[in-house]
């Protein structure tokens, strides 16, 4: 045990410049220019890395990493502990899980990707330890989710993409031949997320979360845009344009997979998916006008099994599956004047 004796040198004063539980600047006044100062973590044997500057009788310490609220720090002057400080932790808002995709209750056996949407940026470290998969009997099934490092996040770290082990989904790979698909047709599985997973600013989810899926047969058929149903909105309104797919689509690639054009000009608006990702809605910023609009399809949109309009996830060369006619990458709809 370390006993720490703090010399009561009243002239030393420490001011902290903090923001959201993080101390970015430590100002030490009362020491002379020739004094050597250092900041240690309580119990630490090495000084905290950062830069020191002496200006107008104040020593400024800028730590390489912001210091944290809730930790005890000691200021050393000329190798002697002289002052301790600690910033109390502020309460931070707990994150929540706001969505999980696929949102349908039934998924194909060759499901490739899932997305979890959080209300705020999450911490990345050890994230796979917070996600578990269990079977219908509640027994944990290991080796379903691929523990990919670095993990795949959206730009602001609020949506995590995870893959169902592609080595097992892919036909022909040893893993698939030996163990079969990671999830099996006819079974149900529960994806659970632990309440201990923390947001980037250090608040845990607080409540556990789970979703149960039923597994249906493999999906083999590529998406065929000519079979999609387009429901045109009414002229003069900003009602959403609706597109309905016969199969469940991948959330993220499909959400951003279409551009609506009028006379060659891309229309601004917001997209949304619904009905287990069988429905795509586009709400324009400006009202619709009469005439013909074009829907340009990004060919890399995928279904739940990772098949895109460009290529199937895996292709059976003996069957020449992909040799069928290439899918059109454009649809159109007309808004009448009524």
């Amino acid at each position: 045990m370390t006993f720490l004796y703090l010399h009561c040198e009243a002239q030393i004063q420490v001011d902290l410049v903090a923001n959201k539980n993080q101390i970015r600047l430590v100002k030490v006044s009362g020491a002379t220019q020739t004094d050597t100062l250092a900041v240690y973590k309580l119990g630490g044997s090495r000084a905290i890395l950062g830069s020191w500057e002496y200006k107008q009788e104040i020593h400024f310490f800028r730590p390489v990493l912001s210091l944290s609220a809730g930790i005890d720090y000691i200021v050393y002057r000329n190798d002697r502990p002289t002052h301790s400080f600690k910033l109390p932790k502020e309460d931070v808002i707990a994150p929540t899980i706001t969505a999980f995709f696929p949102s349908a209750d039934t998924v194909p056996e060759n499901l490739l990707k899932c997305y979890v949407q959080f209300s705020k940026p999450m911490r990345e470290k050890d994230l796979y330890s917070y996600i578990t998969v269990s079977d219908g009997q509640g027994k944990e099934v290991r080796e379903v989710i691929l523990p990919l490092e670095p993990a795949l996040w959206n730009e602001d770290r609020t949506m995590l993409t995870f893959w169902i082990d592609p080595g097992r989904v892919k036909r022909g790979l040893k893993r698939n031949r030996r163990l079969g698909a990671p999830i099996t047709e006819g079974e149900s599985y529960t994806f659970a997320i632990s309440e201990n997973w923390q947001s980037a600013d250090g608040a845990p989810l607080g409540t556990p979360w789970q979703k149960t899926f039923y597994v249906a047969a493999r999906t083999e058929k590529l998406a065929e845009p000519q079979n999609w149903q387009v429901i045109p909105p009414k002229t003069g309104t900003t009602d959403p344009l609706t597109m309905i797919f016969p199969q469940n689509m991948d959330y993220l690639t499909t959400l951003s997979g279409f551009t609506i054009l009028k006379d060659g000009i891309a229309q601004k608006g917001t997209a949304e998916m619904g009905n287990g990702e069988k429905r795509w809605l586009f709400q324009p910023s400006k009202p619709w006008v009469t005439g013909t609009y074009t829907i340009e399809i990004t060919p890399s949109i995928e279904d739940l099994a990772g098949n895109s309009l460009l290529r199937p996830f895996d292709r059976d060369l003996q069957k020449q599956e992909a040799a069928s006619k290439p899918a059109s990458h454009q649809l159109s709809f007309t808004i009448t004047g009524e």
Binding site: I48, L67, S68, P150
Partner: protein, 352 residues
């Protein structure tokens, strides 16, 4: 510049300032002490002149509980420390660590004689390049957020090129790019579509997770490992932009595993590939086996027990999270031990 007959001025377009580094997924050294940083959040590669160019012999680096040690010098808890990558400067043999801490703030630390210092990311000499392809702006969600992102999965400098692979959070795909260095303002970023075939029947597209470049049979090759863990080799000369490239699958390395790091080492004139994995031991391959595996698993029908393809040896180092070469005859790695400790360990070429 002794090894550089063309006398390329690698730092000719470096500027002094503060590069934007918001996250660090991969770091790797190039020539003359230049450190490349792969930033997923900004989708860019930053080249920093570390000025760490005094040649030093490689020592033996070993630190028990390296996460606790890093936490101590950063003034935080070990639970907050996430070591994202590690790279050895081949000139000074100092070891650099890319760390995210306290809610994913990126920091680069340098280890010299088993003591850490911070590598500043402000007022440095640097150049950078954006990896964002000049594609149509991605659709935003209802809250106006772009949902696309691109995670740098590996980064390496080889013969004047910065090679970088990245995985998309959207499409099941990877982008592999080879970028001329020094970075030029107007640069075409072409990507390669790389496929592999499984057992003569299924042709699949696969995202590259880790790679290295080396000479195999006297020719420059890219040795890549996919997220579904086949090991694939490509002659560099085959890697042409916008071309459907099919690699030669030389091994399937087992399940539920992603390759993390690959290095090439030599002993007594024999070259070896060492590969660290997320859920397997450190693997050792002989280059002559890679070159000598004249077929490809594409055409292989028979299944052997264990993994398929060329032979490899599992070295007795499990849970190796980071790996790099330290001098000519040592390798250094970060290993999660059975007791839960995270240690920095150096081993020498007696394992080769």
């Amino acid at each position: 510049m002794a090894n550089n007959p063309k006398k390329i001025d690698y730092k000719r377009n470096f500027v002094v300032g503060t590069p934007t580094v918001e996250s660090i997924n991969a770091i790797s050294f190039g020539p003359e002490g230049i450190l490349f940083i792969g930033d997923s959040k900004t989708a860019s590669i930053v080249a920093i002149d570390t000025k760490d160019t005094d040649a030093q012999a490689a020592g033996k680096a070993s630190i028990k509980n390296i996460d606790q040690r890093i936490a101590e010098v950063l003034g935080t808890e070990a639970s907050e420390i996430d070591i994202r990558d590690m790279a050895v400067n081949p000139i000074s043999n100092s070891i650099y660590f890319a760390v995210h801490a306290n809610g994913d703030q990126p920091v680069i630390l340098k280890l010299v004689k088993e003591e850490f210092t911070a590598m500043p990311l402000n007022d440095v000499s640097y150049s950078s390049i954006s990896l964002n392809a000049p594609i149509a702006e991605d659709a935003k969600d209802r809250r106006g957020r772009s949902q696309r992102n691109w995670a740098v999965s590996d980064l390496s400098f080889y013969q004047g090129q910065v090679m970088v692979s990245g995985l998309s959070n959207k499409e099941f795909s990877s982008t592999f790019r080879s970028i001329q260095f020094p970075f030029e303002e107007k640069q075409t970023l072409s990507s390669l579509e790389i496929y592999h075939a499984a057992h003569g029947r299924y042709e699949t597209y696969a995202p590259i997770k880790a790679f290295t470049a080396a000479k195999v049979g006297g020719e420059d090759h890219l040795i890549a490992s996919y997220t579904c863990t086949p090991l694939v080799v490509f002659p560099m000369s085959n890697l042409q932009p916008d071309k459907h490239v099919k690699g030669r699958t030389v091994a399937e390395l087992g399940n539920w595993n992603t390759p993390l790091d690959m290095i090439v080492m030599e002993k007594d004139g024999v070259s070896y590939l060492l590969m660290a994995n997320s859920s397997r031991s450190l693997m050792k391959f002989k280059f002559t086996d890679i070159a000598g595996f004249s077929g490809s698993l594409n055409t292989r029908v028979e299944e052997r027990a264990g993994t398929d393809g060329i032979d490899f040896i599992n070295l007795p180092f499990v849970n190796v999270q980071q790996l790099d070469k330290l001098g000519d005859d040592q390798f250094v790695f970060i290993q999660r031990k059975g007791n839960g400790d995270l240690d920095l360990v150096t081993q020498n070429n007696r394992w080769l």
